[in-house]
Symmetry: C2
Subunit: 351 residues, 2 copies
């Protein structure tokens, strides 16, 4: 029943940028197994830095680029301080179908909060969530979804929110794959992150998803520290709180890290252009364009979701992760496009 409810979501709600930025994936915290895998990869690196990739153009392009810009004898050599690599998250480092997984946190939290909010039984958009009434929730539109997001993401402190997410991901399962979310990260991309770091790149996540949501549990999975995770944010306020200072999360948008927001946030936070960018949708296009304008030789990488069996197949007409203008520019400008079905030996970690 719950699963049906979640599935219907993708058919009925047009996720707008304003709201969708708050929905991203959830991983279970099986960090140890993934870390072990990364360590194994590090050892494998000397033989093949990207063992889960077939011997395809995307792989050889990546290796040729990294080898070139890290070779001090090369005309394309880039100083270490400028080796900035930025990765979109949803649909790029993990799956994003049938909906951004941050939405499943929203739904689960609304249901768990309902006990102390009896008025929600008759009040939209909460009533629709509690009754699994997607037709009605669809009618609530963007405003209704934003209200749900603010209800579940604001009103607590940053510490409390972090604990809450960490508790939630321990039990959350993907609605159709019915596995914990750590199974749905892209193994080939974990290898790519590690390969870049082994070559002195500084790897960043630059996602439309909520930054505090991601930071609560992806740092060890990706091997990326909190300060290298950039995302959308809600407003906050500082309260000295009689000597026990807290930062409170307020119900208002502070910054939407999508489309133009990505290069703007990269400039605000990193202060220099990436040389390597990876994404999977039109929401990443401006970040790609910004990267392509680097005075250093740069590399733009699109993940194209072509595998309807092992993952999902979608691009120009998808309501999530639409890849249309980005695909045109990638093909036109010679950016590297990963054909997920043919380029990757495996999609997800084997355990």
């Amino acid at each position: 029943m719950v699963t049906d409810f979640k599935l219907v979501i993708m058919k009925q709600i047009k996720y707008t940028i304003l709201v969708s930025i708050f929905f991203s994936f959830i991983f279970m915290s099986c960090e140890t197994s993934i870390k072990e895998k990364q360590d194994t990869n590090a050892i494998t690196t000397e033989l093949d830095p990207l063992p889960s990739w077939n011997e395809v153009t995307s792989k050889s392009n990546i290796i040729a680029y990294v080898s070139g810009v890290t070779n001090s004898e090369s005309e394309n050599f880039i100083p270490i301080k400028d080796l900035i690599a930025t990765f979109d998250n949803d649909g790029n480092l993990w799956s994003e179908q049938p909906a951004y997984f941050q939405l499943f946190f929203v739904i689960d939290k609304i249901k768990s909060m309902a006990e102390t909010h009896p008025e929600w039984k008759t009040e939209q958009p909460f009533k629709a969530v509690l009754e699994n009434d997607m037709a009605e929730l669809g009618k609530q539109g963007q405003r209704g979804l934003l209200q749900l997001v603010m209800t579940t993401h604001a009103g607590n402190t940053t510490e409390e929110f972090k604990s809450e997410i960490q508790e939630w991901v321990k039990t959350a399962k993907h609605p159709t794959k019915n596995v914990t979310y750590d199974k749905l990260v892209f193994q080939p991309m974990l290898e790519l992150l590690q390969y870049l770091r082994d070559n002195d790149f500084k790897t960043y996540v630059v996602s439309g998803g909520g930054v505090d949501f991601m930071r609560a549990f992806v740092t060890e999975i990706y091997g990326i520290p909190e300060e290298q995770i950039i995302g959308s944010r809600i407003k906050t306020e500082f309260d000295y709180n009689n000597g026990n200072p807290v930062i409170r999360r307020l119900p208002g948008l502070d910054f939407i890290d999508d489309k133009e927001g990505k290069p703007l946030n990269i400039q605000k936070i990193i202060g220099k252009k990436p040389v390597f960018s990876s994404g999977n949708s039109d929401g990443d296009l401006q970040m790609m364009q910004w990267t392509a304008s680097n005075k250093h030789k740069s590399f733009m990488l699109y993940v194209h979701h072509t595998d309807s069996i092992r993952e999902w197949a979608y691009d120009r007409d998808s309501h999530i992760g639409r890849l249309d203008k980005g695909l045109d520019q990638a093909l036109n400008d010679g950016w590297t496009v990963i054909d997920m079905k043919n380029d990757w030996k495996v999609i997800y970690p084997s355990r």
Copy 2:
């Protein structure tokens, strides 16, 4: 005449937070000599990590703290990923009298722009700047200063602004010390930054000054990369610009990195609490309080300007860098306070 004009500023204008955030120090680009000095310090570290400090309590406190939290056998041991150190800039890493030096950039740029703005001869607040009329500029108040800041800091691209600052710092001199600004960085603080990095701390600047202004030239002087410099910002917009994308600087405040803004920005950008914070004014107090609430053992360091001969002496009544509530809390809570006159053998680098 110009010098008189600049000196009068400090007496006549009450720099409000809103405006003051855009004024910070300028260094000349004698980066090589400072880098050499840093290298020398790195070698010296094994003997004395802070050679420009007298054998005083502030020094022994710092060394005891760093030794403790980096000792894996200690109960106070902190994992490397959490060794975040945040430093205010104006008055903390370099001098800030008789005015934040970013103001001198504003004045110089207004004068250089005046040729193409004949209307400024009769239009305030520009007229006051061009005529060195501080009495009139004072009357223009906060609004007038903000207008001057936006006129000089917006309307160009991030790249253009960076080049402009870099050109400017090559010739700018301090109005009373009459030396290039690289002479006015605090040698003992450069040693402290290096000492912390030698012990795996990640050092950040968290300043009320303009972030793009600082990033244009302090990275090599401090040994801190762009992505670890946090400051105030004006609004920006992305323009694809027919394939030559730029980020344009707009005449509006985006974020003021002062007082409550410091812990808020630290949470937004770094995503975790510092364990070490250093500042010199009440504008740093909230950052100190946030740091003091770290679950790890933390260290709060105030620079107290007590040296009227070698630098400047000011605290509770100063119109710049006022240290009043912060000094009370430091004394009350046992934070470390540097008595600049007695604790530091030298203030500035010897060359």
